[in-house]
């Protein structure tokens, strides 16, 4: 089964730069500091840096996976090529579920933020429905529209990164010392906890066929992933300097709480604007997730993508209703973080090695 999207549906390789952070930076950044600082304390930023670099290595593997065989331009094709139709499709279905899971986390966590920070009485079902209708509209527009939305979202939300300036007058940079006072194991544990925040780069395995001049896209993908890393490192550095380590342990949304300190003459509570604007970061995320899930489903089951998408949106809606309190959301987050960790750190490298072996054997045969 060859995939060859029409050229009118393809994007320039340059846009991969936006797709990377567009999928990686989601809701995690609003509160990842607490979780990793618990493990590695003042050295947490080193963990963020290390896992960011590891992600780049994995990204390189993804590109290797994609380029090797004839017509193995996306994950479905790779699976089919390596494992045959049935086993391959089983793996594909796992990935569909995984993409759906990411979308659920994104929407539900964002809504939780709205519930806790802005409107405790908000009707969650209604809000999810509205968001999903928006998602439907964007995804229906095709991959180009989603890419455009990613870029716009990033541009609209980018002023929020400037907010890191405000906590600086409260900063205690000596909090960062002593450097490397935690053991290697602790730093690695924090790396593991950091995984969830970097997830999303593996989507390249799905949208690769949609890139024009694919060979040129790798450079941009790496730059995009590095950009994500820089944003995360800056966020954690500012948080570590602003909060006392013992205090940070109790702050669920460290980045959001940090915005509270923003003091502008014309607005008292900046976090309200921040949270609202953040929808422009979350929505492209969800769109990409749903798109990837429905695209893979289409390739596996052969139905029309639109039909699969409606089904997926309904699944998301049901799950979001089911996850109705902090405890469940937290648990779901932890479990998905684990699954994401194993998929990215274990499955991808194994797939890479397996493919190398298979191609070597095939090479000998021919």
């Amino acid at each position: 089964m060859e995939v060859k999207p029409n050229e009118t549906k393809q994007i320039s390789p340059f846009f991969v730069f936006f797709l990377m952070p567009g999928m990686q930076i989601g809701v995690g950044i609003l509160g990842f500091e607490r979780i990793i600082a618990k493990e590695a304390g003042q050295d947490a930023w080193i963990s963020v840096l290390i896992s960011g670099l590891i992600i780049n290595v994995l990204l390189w593997m993804c590109f290797k996976l994609l380029g090797r065989g004839p017509q193995t331009l996306d994950l479905v094709a790779i699976h089919k090529d390596l494992f045959g139709k049935w086993v391959g499709n089983a793996f594909n279905i796992l990935f569909i579920l995984y993409f759906i899971m990411i979308s659920i986390i994104l929407i539900r966590t964002y809504l939780e933020v709205i519930q806790v920070w802005m409107f405790p009485g908000v009707n969650v079902l209604m809000l999810i429905t509205i968001i999903l209708i928006l998602v439907y509209n964007f995804v229906e527009g095709g991959f180009r529209v989603i890419t455009g939305f990613c870029i716009i979202g990033l541009i609209i939300a980018s002023p929020l990164f400037l907010l890191n300036y405000f906590p600086l007058k409260y900063a205690h940079f000596e909090n960062l010392g002593p450097l490397l006072d935690h053991s290697f194991l602790e730093i690695m544990k924090a790396c593991k906890k950091m995984t969830l925040n970097y997830l999303g780069f593996e989507l390249i395995l799905i949208y690769y066929p949609f890139i024009k001049n694919r060979e040129k896209s790798q450079k941009w993908a790496h730059l995009g992933a590095l950009f994500t890393m820089v944003i995360y490192v800056v966020s954690i550095l500012v948080s570590l300097a602003y909060y006392h380590q013992d205090q940070l342990k109790d702050v669920i949304w460290a980045t959001l709480t940090l915005w509270k300190i923003v003091d502008l003459p014309f607005i008292e509570r900046f976090e309200y604007i921040g949270i609202s604007v953040w929808l422009f970061m979350v929505l492209p995320n969800v769109c990409l997730g749903v798109w990837a899930a429905s695209r893979t489903a289409k390739r596996v089951f052969g139905f029309r993508q639109k039909k699969m998408m409606v089904l997926i949106l309904i699944i998301i809606l049901v799950f979001c209703i089911f996850l109705d309190n902090r405890y469940r959301i937290d648990k779901f987050n932890t479990v998905s973080s684990q699954i994401g960790f194993y998929i990215v750190y274990l499955y991808l490298p194994l797939l890479f090695i397996w493919q190398s072996i298979v191609y070597k054997v095939r090479g000998h045969k021919s």
Binding site: F119, M126, L127, P178, Q247, I261, E268
Partner: protein, 360 residues
């Protein structure tokens, strides 16, 4: 196209049903200053100043005081609502005051709601009141200033010279962090005025009953942060005073050997100017040096006394423990806390007179 249009219409209908609570400015009372006192029997008494919008285009905001007894802060708010025509909201709360008695029992339970409530900003000022908090709160509405809040401006004004930088975030920072103890401004009422009495000293969340008097707040500030304003009066002998004006003051902490036998040296460098002198001839070079040396001796002694006082009371408002931690590998918190009262702390003060005003 038709389907899209339908979806958009549907979305806007759904939006109307999102169940968001409306808060219209005329229909709420905005709490500005709130005070809590111990009311015995594990109860607290909350007193709140709210601004009441008046009708009319240029009408000033009226102010009103409500009070209520309850076990916790949110319940007190609810009790107050029993007396008010509109709900009281805390989104613009600027100052929270605690009575001396309540503060000495520990503030954690009564600060928690401000830490937790997303409605409350982080630039909220906390303060302790010598006596009862309600006295200060009740004094508030008499003042003509509207809608700005007298207590808030009082604290803000003094933070530049005699009070350390304290707001909710910094309080939480010090209260939750190991190796730091918070300080809060101590207010009092004199006649019909509100006055800053000094800096209340805390052991974690408990007010220890001691404070640094207002005049010496400058010295505390010199020890704890870099700043650029403020002045201090040095007494030479009876009826003989000099006023030193701080132009720029910098402080560094040198902590050595924190895990075994800690030693602390606090290095203060101050650039100062003279604005008022009695009994010296400034024109002569010698005299200026004399003043410098003398000021160093007098202020240095005061600073040493202050640090010793902190050690005697087992409190660490200068965050020496935290500084030690950030400079020591495998920092031994326990050992530090045990030895803290006996650590030799040396204050090294260097004053440089850079100006003597515009008169010779």
């Amino acid at each position: 196209m038709k389907i899209k249009l339908l979806l958009i219409t549907l979305a806007s209908f759904l939006m109307a049903a999102c169940g968001v609570e409306k808060q219209i400015l005329e229909d709420i009372l905005i709490a500005e200053v709130v005070g809590y006192d111990d009311a015995g029997d594990k109860k607290i008494k909350g007193t709140v100043v709210v601004s009441v919008p008046q009708p009319g285009e240029e009408a000033a905001l009226g102010k009103e005081v409500y009070e209520a007894d309850s076990h916790d802060i949110k319940a007190a708010r609810q009790q107050e609502n029993a007396k008010t025509p509109y709900p009281i909201v805390g989104g613009r709360l600027t100052v929270t005051l605690y009575g001396e008695e309540l503060a000495s029992k520990g503030l954690n339970d009564y600060v928690d709601t401000y830490r937790r409530d997303p409605m409350v900003g982080r630039d909220l000022y906390l303060a302790v009141v010598h006596g009862k908090a309600e006295d200060v709160v009740k004094m508030e509405p008499k003042l003509i200033k509207t809608p700005g809040v007298q207590v808030k401006e009082l604290i803000e004004q003094n933070i530049r010279t005699n009070l350390p930088n304290v707001d909710l975030h910094r309080y939480l920072y010090a209260c939750h962090g190991n190796g730091i103890d918070p300080v809060l401004p101590l207010l009092e009422t004199t006649g019909d005025q509100i006055r800053v009495r000094g800096i209340a000293l805390f052991k974690k969340d408990r007010y220890i009953g001691k404070y640094i008097p207002y005049e010496e707040g400058f010295l505390y500030k010199v020890l704890s942060e870099n700043f650029k304003l403020g002045s201090y009066e040095i007494k030479w002998k009876e009826n003989d005073f000099t006023d030193i004006n701080n132009v720029e003051s910098r402080v560094h902490y040198h902590i050595s050997n924190a895990n075994q036998d800690p030693k602390v040296r606090i290095e203060v460098k101050m650039k100062a100017s003279l604005l008022e002198v009695q009994g010296y001839d400034l024109g002569k070079e010698v005299d200026l040096n004399k003043i410098e040396a003398r000021a160093e001796r007098v202020i240095g002694k005061k600073l040493n006394e202050m640090v010793t006082m902190f050690q005697e009371n087992h409190i660490d408002p200068l965050a020496l423990g935290d500084h030690a931690k950030s400079k020591t590998r495998n920092f031994d918190q326990k050992h530090w806390e045990e030895t803290y009262p006996d650590i030799p702390i040396e204050v090294d003060l260097d004053i440089e007179m850079i100006q003597t005003g515009i008169a010779e």
